[in-house]
Symmetry: C2
Subunit: 347 residues, 2 copies
């Protein structure tokens, strides 16, 4: 079977010679061109099988000007939300004949900018990008000359298609859920001081809205900062909030990792969840269904985000409607109620 040595010496040339046809006919067979006599097609296919021929993708890419690869730029795969998102994007892309190249930016601004201009970009037909560290000063960098879909609320009038959930609305609903349970001293874990356009800012905004609508004022002492949205930073922030002595009867983790970090601290301090403090997260990563207690969270429609993003990108790549104005697709969210807010009745 594996007659070919490394370097896959077999080219269309050799297949053509063996089948007694022109090289272009081999190409036509490989690409499913319709006007080929069945007999010829069979001969070519036999030759391909005999020689173990495989198309040289690099040559095809050069000639076609397309690679069939799309980039997916996320902060880190070790963050469960992005690992699960990558999983979904890869599946969606595969179903459409595309392959995904993952780039990790580590939420570092320089690396995010590199993704937009870097060399690697030339290997891909388009990019699905989840920017976290870019600020208004980087708006210009988003004006790229290749197909791109941005994940997250439209920022700086980003000149690209956007796929996002309604962060403000979802955060408001999450906060409302806590208010409905009678909680009044709701802390936030994961705020970004000074930020006005990112997910942190939008979710805090939803939190504020819910409180204000309930006639409550926002106590700054309850808003805990956390730069990176990891379990460790969530734990640190929770510690600080508890140490500060401020009264707290609920915690809103701006993502699940933060909430799980907070949960960990509460458990270590033997603070009853949800008895003394209720906790809600955001993202609905698989882990939230197995933590102790299980974590109430906001499900952002991950599959929907992934398939929509891939579809939008593919449409841009294929230039179905070249001058179609940029769209913003807002996906559905859902509050998944679990033990961390309503206790064991939920299980």
């Amino acid at each position: 079977m594996s007659t070919a040595r490394r370097g896959s010496a077999v080219t269309m040339h050799e297949v053509a010679a063996r089948a007694g046809v022109s090289i272009k006919t081999v190409s036509n067979v490989v690409n499913g061109y319709q006007y080929i006599r069945p007999a010829t097609k069979e001969r070519v296919e036999a030759a391909i099988a005999d020689l173990g021929y495989q198309v040289n993708i690099s040559a095809r890419n050069l000639r076609r000007g397309r690679t069939g690869l799309i980039g997916l730029a996320v902060p880190e795969l070790s963050l469960p939300y992005f690992a699960e998102l990558a999983d979904s994007v890869i599946r969606a892309a595969e179903a459409r004949g595309l392959t995904v190249l993952i780039e990790q930016t580590g939420s570092v601004r320089e690396r995010e900018l590199e993704v937009l201009s870097g060399q690697r970009r030339h290997l891909t037909d388009g990019l699905i990008f989840s920017p976290l560290a870019l600020g208004p000063q980087d708006a210009a960098a988003l004006h790229v000359d290749f197909p791109m879909v941005l994940l997250g609320e439209r920022i700086f009038g980003g000149p690209a298609d956007h796929v996002t959930m309604n962060n403000v609305e979802a955060a408001r609903a999450a906060t409302q859920h806590l208010l409905d349970l009678g909680r009044r001293r709701i802390a936030v874990v994961g705020a970004h001081e000074g930020e006005t356009v990112g997910s942190a800012a939008l979710r805090v905004q939803g939190y504020r809205q819910a409180l204000e609508e309930a006639g409550l004022s926002v106590d700054p002492a309850l808003v805990g900062e956390a730069g990176l949205w990891h379990r460790a930073t969530g734990a640190d922030t929770m510690e600080r909030l508890l140490e500060s002595g401020v009264e707290i009867d609920a915690v809103f983790g701006l993502n699940d990792a933060l909430a799980l970090g907070a949960l960990h601290v509460l458990h270590a301090r033997r603070i009853d969840v949800p008895g003394q403090i209720a906790v809600i997260g955001f993202d609905d990563i698989e882990e939230t269904a197995y933590s102790s207690p299980t974590l109430t969270t906001v499900a952002p429609g991950r599959e929907q985000i992934a398939t929509t993003a891939v579809d939008l990108l593919l449409a841009r790549i294929q230039e179905v409607e070249p001058d179609k104005p940029f769209v913003q697709v807002v996906t559905d969210f859902e509050i998944v109620v679990r033990e961390s807010t309503v206790g064991e009745q939920a299980s």
Copy 2:
């Protein structure tokens, strides 16, 4: 013909024209060839900057016969261990100038075979492969004609470099840890009936060894099956074990996801961990440090596995020593003791 009006319209040709040099000189500048007069180099660099030229990677790949891409085939990114492993591999590869293409096999045999023969393979210079579903009957398929490094204990005399931890020894140590704590009725979660070569079999083997050395016999009723190593299957298996009524004072989850699923069930049933039942996992995923209780586990040296695998693969790709016999690198492991076996003293 619609000459793509993407940014890549600029070629070396145009840069050469503008700088007043030959196209090869541009290539030489781009590739850091040393014998170029500073003045020439500057002129070329200026032209590159002016035109916003970027190398066409497809053309380079074709000419060079290499792509700078390596494949990483894992079951699923939504399994935290593989997401964290992918993270490490991507970083290690990046540090060596390589880009990683992730393929998800879903632990499905057909898809694992595809990875070995598929088209996509032609796009990469080599493959790092973590096979889970292949059996002895697939040994032949592993004889591939491209550089490959396998993750996991050498199986079927696999004709490739291997990077692995010592599964048997590590499982023995994990079991020993439980024995040292006085546990005698140690259940296993995640066994694969009939399997003899995979991680499951090897870890169960280590478990048996530890018990036998302690003069205990292995009670088949304590060995719980679980096909996929997910949280959900771990939970199911734990349920079954508890329902069976067999006496249990400890649980060895063959990976962390299984152990966390088991932990979830124990928590739901208000069984004290580690008071009544101690739990140990395997992989040391980040989540284990934040669960309630935190999970004792076996750390397999993930970073070491990733960097070693990339280094071995790179050596094969560069043919440093073409006929070097295949090596098997066994990485260090470590028992990370946390609350699920020794209680809160550990925190």
